[in-house]
Protein backbone atom coordinates (compact mmCIF):
# COMPACT_ATOMS: atom_id res chain seq x y z
CA UNK A 1 0.00 0.00 0.00
CA UNK A 2 1.43 3.36 -0.99
CA UNK A 3 1.39 6.43 1.26
CA UNK A 4 -1.29 8.05 -0.91
CA UNK A 5 -3.45 4.93 -0.65
CA UNK A 6 -2.92 4.81 3.12
CA UNK A 7 -4.24 8.36 3.56
CA UNK A 8 -7.09 7.69 1.14
CA UNK A 9 -8.15 4.62 3.14
CA UNK A 10 -7.74 6.63 6.34
CA UNK A 11 -10.14 9.24 4.95
CA UNK A 12 -12.67 6.58 3.95
CA UNK A 13 -12.38 4.96 7.37
CA UNK A 14 -13.02 8.36 8.96
CA UNK A 15 -16.11 8.68 6.78
CA UNK A 16 -17.26 5.25 7.95
CA UNK A 17 -16.77 6.20 11.61
CA UNK A 18 -18.60 9.50 11.04
CA UNK A 19 -21.55 7.79 9.36
CA UNK A 20 -21.85 5.06 12.01
CA UNK A 21 -21.63 7.56 14.89
CA UNK A 22 -23.91 9.97 13.02
CA UNK A 23 -26.54 7.26 12.63
CA UNK A 24 -26.31 6.35 16.31
CA UNK A 25 -25.97 9.80 17.85
CA UNK A 26 -27.61 12.01 15.23
CA UNK A 27 -24.71 14.38 14.65
CA UNK A 28 -26.08 17.75 13.60
CA UNK A 29 -29.73 16.91 14.26
CA UNK A 30 -31.99 19.32 16.12
CA UNK A 31 -31.42 18.55 19.78
CA UNK A 32 -33.64 18.77 22.82
CA UNK A 33 -31.51 19.02 25.93
CA UNK A 34 -32.31 19.99 29.50
CA UNK A 35 -28.95 21.72 29.63
CA UNK A 36 -30.01 24.04 26.84
CA UNK A 37 -33.58 25.18 27.51
CA UNK A 38 -35.29 27.44 24.98
CA UNK A 39 -37.12 30.63 25.75
CA UNK A 40 -40.62 30.00 26.89
CA UNK A 41 -42.92 30.83 24.03
CA UNK A 42 -45.61 33.36 24.24
CA UNK A 43 -47.96 32.51 21.47
CA UNK A 44 -46.36 31.47 18.22
CA UNK A 45 -42.78 32.62 18.48
CA UNK A 46 -41.91 31.49 15.00
CA UNK A 47 -42.83 33.86 12.18
CA UNK A 48 -46.09 33.47 10.32
CA UNK A 49 -46.07 30.96 7.51
CA UNK A 50 -47.53 31.18 4.06
CA UNK A 51 -47.87 28.88 1.15
CA UNK A 52 -46.64 29.67 -2.33
CA UNK A 53 -46.18 27.15 -5.09
CA UNK A 54 -47.68 25.79 -8.21
CA UNK A 55 -51.14 25.94 -6.67
CA UNK A 56 -50.95 29.70 -6.25
CA UNK A 57 -49.46 30.20 -9.66
CA UNK A 58 -52.38 28.20 -10.97
CA UNK A 59 -54.91 30.14 -8.94
CA UNK A 60 -53.47 33.47 -9.94
CA UNK A 61 -53.51 32.44 -13.59
CA UNK A 62 -49.78 32.96 -14.10
Amino acid sequence: MTTKTFFFVLFLTGLLVFSVLGTRYGIGLTEASKEDPKNVREGTAQPGHSRAGRFWLFRSGK
Partner: protein, 355 residues
Protein backbone atom coordinates in the same frame (compact mmCIF):
# COMPACT_ATOMS: atom_id res chain seq x y z
CA UNK B 1 22.81 16.94 -26.18
CA UNK B 2 25.30 17.34 -28.95
CA UNK B 3 23.49 15.58 -31.80
CA UNK B 4 22.77 17.68 -34.85
CA UNK B 5 19.43 19.35 -34.44
CA UNK B 6 16.87 21.58 -36.02
CA UNK B 7 14.53 23.87 -34.20
CA UNK B 8 11.12 24.13 -35.72
CA UNK B 9 7.87 25.85 -35.04
CA UNK B 10 4.31 25.48 -36.09
CA UNK B 11 2.02 28.41 -36.72
CA UNK B 12 -1.60 28.03 -35.85
CA UNK B 13 -3.74 28.70 -32.83
CA UNK B 14 -0.56 29.15 -30.85
CA UNK B 15 3.03 28.85 -32.01
CA UNK B 16 4.52 25.58 -30.82
CA UNK B 17 8.28 25.12 -30.66
CA UNK B 18 10.19 21.89 -30.64
CA UNK B 19 13.69 20.53 -31.21
CA UNK B 20 14.53 17.60 -33.43
CA UNK B 21 17.82 15.77 -32.94
CA UNK B 22 19.11 13.63 -35.81
CA UNK B 23 20.53 10.35 -34.51
CA UNK B 24 22.45 7.72 -36.42
CA UNK B 25 23.24 4.11 -35.64
CA UNK B 26 25.10 1.80 -38.04
CA UNK B 27 22.62 -0.98 -37.18
CA UNK B 28 19.41 1.05 -36.98
CA UNK B 29 20.09 3.87 -39.42
CA UNK B 30 18.76 7.40 -38.93
CA UNK B 31 16.20 8.41 -36.33
CA UNK B 32 14.78 11.68 -35.05
CA UNK B 33 14.51 12.40 -31.38
CA UNK B 34 11.86 15.09 -30.95
CA UNK B 35 11.68 17.21 -27.80
CA UNK B 36 8.67 19.39 -27.09
CA UNK B 37 7.73 20.85 -23.69
CA UNK B 38 9.94 18.26 -22.00
CA UNK B 39 8.30 15.33 -23.84
CA UNK B 40 10.33 13.06 -26.12
CA UNK B 41 9.40 10.92 -29.10
CA UNK B 42 11.73 8.78 -31.18
CA UNK B 43 10.76 8.61 -34.87
CA UNK B 44 12.18 6.58 -37.72
CA UNK B 45 11.46 6.85 -41.43
CA UNK B 46 9.12 4.18 -42.68
CA UNK B 47 8.22 2.96 -46.15
CA UNK B 48 4.86 1.62 -45.09
CA UNK B 49 2.13 3.63 -46.76
CA UNK B 50 -0.98 4.70 -44.84
CA UNK B 51 -4.39 3.35 -45.86
CA UNK B 52 -5.49 6.86 -46.88
CA UNK B 53 -4.08 10.34 -47.33
CA UNK B 54 -4.01 11.82 -43.81
CA UNK B 55 -3.95 15.37 -45.23
CA UNK B 56 -7.41 14.80 -46.64
CA UNK B 57 -8.74 13.04 -43.57
CA UNK B 58 -10.56 14.88 -40.83
CA UNK B 59 -9.46 15.03 -37.25
CA UNK B 60 -9.82 11.75 -35.34
CA UNK B 61 -10.22 9.83 -38.62
CA UNK B 62 -8.75 6.35 -38.36
CA UNK B 63 -5.80 5.60 -40.62
CA UNK B 64 -4.22 2.18 -40.91
CA UNK B 65 -0.47 1.81 -41.13
CA UNK B 66 0.26 -1.85 -41.57
CA UNK B 67 -1.51 -3.54 -38.68
CA UNK B 68 -1.63 -0.39 -36.57
CA UNK B 69 -4.60 1.97 -36.48
CA UNK B 70 -3.87 5.66 -35.88
CA UNK B 71 -6.16 8.64 -35.39
CA UNK B 72 -5.46 11.92 -37.13
CA UNK B 73 -4.44 14.33 -34.37
CA UNK B 74 -3.28 17.61 -35.85
CA UNK B 75 -2.25 19.20 -39.12
CA UNK B 76 -0.13 22.28 -39.58
CA UNK B 77 2.85 23.99 -41.20
CA UNK B 78 6.23 23.21 -39.67
CA UNK B 79 8.82 25.91 -40.22
CA UNK B 80 12.53 25.36 -39.68
CA UNK B 81 13.79 28.10 -37.42
CA UNK B 82 17.45 27.23 -36.93
CA UNK B 83 19.80 24.28 -37.48
CA UNK B 84 23.17 23.25 -36.19
CA UNK B 85 25.52 20.28 -36.71
CA UNK B 86 25.75 17.90 -39.64
CA UNK B 87 22.48 17.05 -41.27
CA UNK B 88 21.60 14.86 -44.24
CA UNK B 89 20.35 17.79 -46.28
CA UNK B 90 20.97 21.50 -46.61
CA UNK B 91 18.73 22.99 -43.99
CA UNK B 92 17.68 26.60 -44.42
CA UNK B 93 15.75 28.62 -41.85
CA UNK B 94 12.30 29.27 -43.22
CA UNK B 95 12.01 25.86 -44.92
CA UNK B 96 8.41 24.88 -44.56
CA UNK B 97 6.68 21.51 -44.73
CA UNK B 98 3.09 20.56 -44.22
CA UNK B 99 2.87 18.01 -41.47
CA UNK B 100 0.19 15.81 -40.00
CA UNK B 101 0.45 13.81 -36.81
CA UNK B 102 -1.57 10.64 -36.28
CA UNK B 103 -1.56 8.91 -32.92
CA UNK B 104 -2.32 5.70 -31.17
CA UNK B 105 -0.52 6.35 -27.88
CA UNK B 106 2.27 5.70 -27.25
CA UNK B 107 2.80 5.39 -31.03
CA UNK B 108 2.86 8.31 -33.44
CA UNK B 109 2.84 8.45 -37.22
CA UNK B 110 3.95 11.68 -38.89
CA UNK B 111 3.69 12.61 -42.53
CA UNK B 112 5.59 15.58 -43.95
CA UNK B 113 4.86 17.04 -47.35
CA UNK B 114 7.13 19.44 -49.18
CA UNK B 115 6.13 20.13 -52.77
CA UNK B 116 5.53 16.70 -54.27
CA UNK B 117 7.74 14.95 -51.75
CA UNK B 118 6.18 12.91 -48.96
CA UNK B 119 8.06 11.51 -45.99
CA UNK B 120 6.67 9.08 -43.45
CA UNK B 121 7.92 8.67 -39.91
CA UNK B 122 6.70 6.34 -37.23
CA UNK B 123 7.78 6.15 -33.63
CA UNK B 124 6.88 6.09 -29.97
CA UNK B 125 6.77 8.28 -26.92
CA UNK B 126 9.90 7.88 -24.80
CA UNK B 127 10.12 8.52 -21.09
CA UNK B 128 12.40 11.60 -20.56
CA UNK B 129 14.37 9.75 -17.88
CA UNK B 130 15.08 6.95 -20.36
CA UNK B 131 16.39 9.50 -22.87
CA UNK B 132 18.69 11.07 -20.30
CA UNK B 133 20.02 7.69 -19.24
CA UNK B 134 20.59 6.68 -22.88
CA UNK B 135 22.72 9.78 -23.41
CA UNK B 136 24.54 9.32 -20.10
CA UNK B 137 23.11 12.49 -18.61
CA UNK B 138 23.28 12.42 -14.84
CA UNK B 139 20.80 15.18 -14.04
CA UNK B 140 17.05 14.75 -13.76
CA UNK B 141 15.13 15.83 -16.85
CA UNK B 142 12.82 18.81 -16.38
CA UNK B 143 9.23 17.84 -15.71
CA UNK B 144 7.27 17.78 -18.98
CA UNK B 145 4.44 20.28 -19.21
CA UNK B 146 0.98 19.49 -20.54
CA UNK B 147 -0.08 16.29 -22.23
CA UNK B 148 1.80 15.37 -25.38
CA UNK B 149 0.00 14.07 -28.47
CA UNK B 150 1.15 10.46 -28.11
CA UNK B 151 1.85 10.43 -24.38
CA UNK B 152 0.43 7.21 -22.95
CA UNK B 153 -1.84 7.26 -19.92
CA UNK B 154 0.07 5.46 -17.19
CA UNK B 155 -1.95 4.48 -14.18
CA UNK B 156 -0.07 4.53 -10.89
CA UNK B 157 -0.27 1.78 -8.24
CA UNK B 158 -1.87 4.39 -5.92
CA UNK B 159 -4.59 5.11 -8.44
CA UNK B 160 -5.40 1.45 -8.96
CA UNK B 161 -5.47 0.79 -5.21
CA UNK B 162 -7.60 3.87 -4.51
CA UNK B 163 -10.04 2.78 -7.21
CA UNK B 164 -10.50 -0.59 -5.53
CA UNK B 165 -10.84 0.91 -2.04
CA UNK B 166 -13.35 3.53 -3.19
CA UNK B 167 -15.51 0.84 -4.81
CA UNK B 168 -15.29 -1.35 -1.69
CA UNK B 169 -16.26 1.51 0.62
CA UNK B 170 -19.01 2.76 -1.71
CA UNK B 171 -20.48 -0.77 -1.74
CA UNK B 172 -20.24 -0.92 2.08
CA UNK B 173 -21.97 2.45 2.49
CA UNK B 174 -24.68 1.45 0.01
CA UNK B 175 -25.20 -1.78 1.95
CA UNK B 176 -25.45 0.10 5.26
CA UNK B 177 -27.83 2.64 3.69
CA UNK B 178 -30.09 -0.09 2.26
CA UNK B 179 -30.01 -1.98 5.56
CA UNK B 180 -30.99 1.16 7.48
CA UNK B 181 -33.74 1.85 4.95
CA UNK B 182 -35.18 -1.67 5.01
CA UNK B 183 -34.74 -2.12 8.77
CA UNK B 184 -35.15 1.39 10.21
CA UNK B 185 -35.41 -0.01 13.72
CA UNK B 186 -36.84 1.90 16.62
CA UNK B 187 -40.03 1.45 18.56
CA UNK B 188 -43.26 3.41 18.52
CA UNK B 189 -43.48 5.16 21.85
CA UNK B 190 -46.24 7.64 21.23
CA UNK B 191 -49.30 8.22 19.07
CA UNK B 192 -52.10 10.74 19.45
CA UNK B 193 -54.81 12.39 17.37
CA UNK B 194 -55.13 16.10 17.99
CA UNK B 195 -56.91 19.16 16.71
CA UNK B 196 -55.09 22.43 16.56
CA UNK B 197 -56.55 25.16 18.69
CA UNK B 198 -59.09 27.39 17.00
CA UNK B 199 -57.96 30.37 19.00
CA UNK B 200 -55.52 32.68 17.26
CA UNK B 201 -51.98 31.50 18.02
CA UNK B 202 -53.45 28.92 20.38
CA UNK B 203 -51.53 25.80 21.32
CA UNK B 204 -52.31 22.23 22.27
CA UNK B 205 -50.21 19.91 24.41
CA UNK B 206 -49.85 16.17 23.89
CA UNK B 207 -49.93 13.35 26.41
CA UNK B 208 -46.54 12.52 27.95
CA UNK B 209 -44.08 10.02 26.48
CA UNK B 210 -40.93 8.52 27.96
CA UNK B 211 -37.36 8.46 26.70
CA UNK B 212 -35.25 5.77 28.34
CA UNK B 213 -31.80 6.23 26.78
CA UNK B 214 -29.54 9.26 26.45
CA UNK B 215 -29.15 10.72 22.95
CA UNK B 216 -32.26 9.04 21.61
CA UNK B 217 -33.04 9.89 18.01
CA UNK B 218 -36.79 10.29 17.57
CA UNK B 219 -38.69 10.44 14.33
CA UNK B 220 -41.90 12.44 14.63
CA UNK B 221 -44.48 11.66 11.94
CA UNK B 222 -47.35 14.02 11.31
CA UNK B 223 -50.45 13.31 9.22
CA UNK B 224 -53.18 15.81 8.48
CA UNK B 225 -56.13 15.52 6.06
CA UNK B 226 -55.24 18.69 4.17
CA UNK B 227 -56.86 19.19 0.79
CA UNK B 228 -55.87 22.21 -1.28
CA UNK B 229 -54.67 23.59 2.02
CA UNK B 230 -51.67 23.52 4.31
CA UNK B 231 -50.90 23.05 7.97
CA UNK B 232 -47.71 24.17 9.69
CA UNK B 233 -46.99 22.79 13.14
CA UNK B 234 -44.41 24.22 15.51
CA UNK B 235 -43.41 21.81 18.29
CA UNK B 236 -41.87 22.59 21.66
CA UNK B 237 -40.41 19.68 23.60
CA UNK B 238 -41.38 20.13 27.25
CA UNK B 239 -39.72 18.22 30.08
CA UNK B 240 -41.37 17.09 33.34
CA UNK B 241 -41.24 20.62 34.74
CA UNK B 242 -42.77 22.17 31.64
CA UNK B 243 -39.46 23.65 30.54
CA UNK B 244 -39.08 24.06 26.78
CA UNK B 245 -35.91 22.06 25.97
CA UNK B 246 -36.16 21.86 22.19
CA UNK B 247 -38.04 23.02 19.12
CA UNK B 248 -38.79 21.73 15.64
CA UNK B 249 -41.51 22.10 13.03
CA UNK B 250 -43.29 20.24 10.26
CA UNK B 251 -45.53 21.28 7.41
CA UNK B 252 -48.02 19.30 5.37
CA UNK B 253 -49.56 20.72 2.23
CA UNK B 254 -51.50 18.99 -0.47
CA UNK B 255 -52.85 20.55 -3.63
CA UNK B 256 -54.44 19.24 -6.78
CA UNK B 257 -56.07 20.65 -9.85
CA UNK B 258 -55.85 20.64 -13.59
CA UNK B 259 -54.54 22.96 -16.23
CA UNK B 260 -53.73 22.87 -19.93
CA UNK B 261 -51.15 20.13 -19.30
CA UNK B 262 -53.68 17.93 -17.49
CA UNK B 263 -54.32 17.18 -13.86
CA UNK B 264 -51.65 17.63 -11.25
CA UNK B 265 -51.03 17.13 -7.57
CA UNK B 266 -48.46 18.68 -5.31
CA UNK B 267 -47.29 17.86 -1.80
CA UNK B 268 -48.90 15.30 0.51
CA UNK B 269 -50.68 14.79 3.77
CA UNK B 270 -47.63 13.54 5.63
CA UNK B 271 -44.44 15.07 6.97
CA UNK B 272 -41.80 14.02 9.46
CA UNK B 273 -38.97 15.50 11.50
CA UNK B 274 -36.01 14.11 13.40
CA UNK B 275 -35.01 15.31 16.83
CA UNK B 276 -32.40 14.04 19.23
CA UNK B 277 -33.48 14.01 22.86
CA UNK B 278 -30.33 14.16 24.95
CA UNK B 279 -31.62 13.15 28.38
CA UNK B 280 -33.85 10.27 29.50
CA UNK B 281 -37.12 11.39 31.05
CA UNK B 282 -40.76 12.10 30.44
CA UNK B 283 -41.66 14.68 27.85
CA UNK B 284 -44.67 16.24 26.19
CA UNK B 285 -45.02 18.19 22.97
CA UNK B 286 -46.65 21.60 22.85
CA UNK B 287 -47.94 22.32 19.37
CA UNK B 288 -48.67 25.66 17.74
CA UNK B 289 -50.45 25.53 14.39
CA UNK B 290 -50.99 27.73 11.39
CA UNK B 291 -52.73 26.74 8.22
CA UNK B 292 -55.57 27.18 5.83
CA UNK B 293 -56.35 27.37 2.19
CA UNK B 294 -55.10 30.88 1.56
CA UNK B 295 -51.65 32.26 1.24
CA UNK B 296 -51.71 33.31 4.88
CA UNK B 297 -52.96 31.42 7.88
CA UNK B 298 -56.75 31.56 8.07
CA UNK B 299 -57.74 28.20 9.57
CA UNK B 300 -55.99 26.95 12.67
CA UNK B 301 -58.55 24.43 13.89
CA UNK B 302 -57.48 21.39 11.91
CA UNK B 303 -57.16 17.73 12.92
CA UNK B 304 -53.77 16.02 12.78
CA UNK B 305 -52.06 13.01 14.26
CA UNK B 306 -48.59 12.71 15.78
CA UNK B 307 -46.56 9.50 16.08
CA UNK B 308 -43.12 9.20 17.63
CA UNK B 309 -40.64 6.42 17.01
CA UNK B 310 -37.59 6.25 19.31
CA UNK B 311 -34.13 4.87 18.42
CA UNK B 312 -34.70 5.67 14.76
CA UNK B 313 -31.77 5.24 12.35
CA UNK B 314 -31.43 8.35 10.16
CA UNK B 315 -30.52 7.49 6.57
CA UNK B 316 -28.70 10.69 5.74
CA UNK B 317 -25.28 9.77 7.13
CA UNK B 318 -24.87 6.57 5.12
CA UNK B 319 -26.37 8.31 2.10
CA UNK B 320 -23.92 11.22 2.32
CA UNK B 321 -21.00 8.81 2.80
CA UNK B 322 -22.15 6.69 -0.15
CA UNK B 323 -22.58 9.69 -2.47
CA UNK B 324 -19.20 11.08 -1.48
CA UNK B 325 -17.41 7.76 -1.95
CA UNK B 326 -19.23 6.96 -5.18
CA UNK B 327 -18.30 10.43 -6.45
CA UNK B 328 -14.66 9.78 -5.61
CA UNK B 329 -14.83 6.41 -7.38
CA UNK B 330 -16.28 8.03 -10.50
CA UNK B 331 -13.57 10.68 -10.38
CA UNK B 332 -10.81 8.08 -10.07
CA UNK B 333 -12.24 5.87 -12.82
CA UNK B 334 -12.60 8.86 -15.15
CA UNK B 335 -8.97 9.92 -14.82
CA UNK B 336 -8.11 8.28 -18.14
CA UNK B 337 -11.04 10.03 -19.84
CA UNK B 338 -9.91 13.36 -18.38
CA UNK B 339 -6.38 12.65 -19.59
CA UNK B 340 -7.75 12.06 -23.10
CA UNK B 341 -9.73 15.30 -22.86
CA UNK B 342 -6.55 17.20 -22.02
CA UNK B 343 -4.73 15.48 -24.88
CA UNK B 344 -7.29 16.52 -27.47
CA UNK B 345 -8.51 19.87 -26.16
CA UNK B 346 -5.64 21.98 -27.58
CA UNK B 347 -6.10 20.74 -31.14
CA UNK B 348 -9.89 20.66 -30.99
CA UNK B 349 -9.87 24.28 -29.79
CA UNK B 350 -7.45 24.99 -32.61
CA UNK B 351 -10.02 23.71 -35.10
CA UNK B 352 -12.83 25.65 -33.47
CA UNK B 353 -10.81 28.82 -33.79
CA UNK B 354 -10.06 28.09 -37.42
CA UNK B 355 -13.81 27.91 -38.05
Amino acid sequence: MTAPKVKAKEYGWGTEWWDEFLLYSPEQGYAWLVRENGHYTLLRPTKIRPSRDPFRAGQKTTIKLGEERFQVYDTGDAVLDEAEGELTWIAKPGDTVKAVDCITPPRIFTVEKSGQELEYFVGSYVDPQEVYEAFGLKETPPAPSGIYACQPFISSPSLEQCKRWSVAFAAAFLGLFLHAMLFPGGTHIFSQDLTSSSEPQGMVTTEPFTITRPDTICRVDVDAPVSNSWLWLGFDVLDETGLDVGEFSTQVDYYYGSDSEGSWTEGGTHDSALIKIADPGTYRLRVAAEGGSGEVSDQVSMPFSVRIRADYKPLRYYLIAFLLTAGLAVLLFSKKAMFECRRWSPVLEDDDDDD
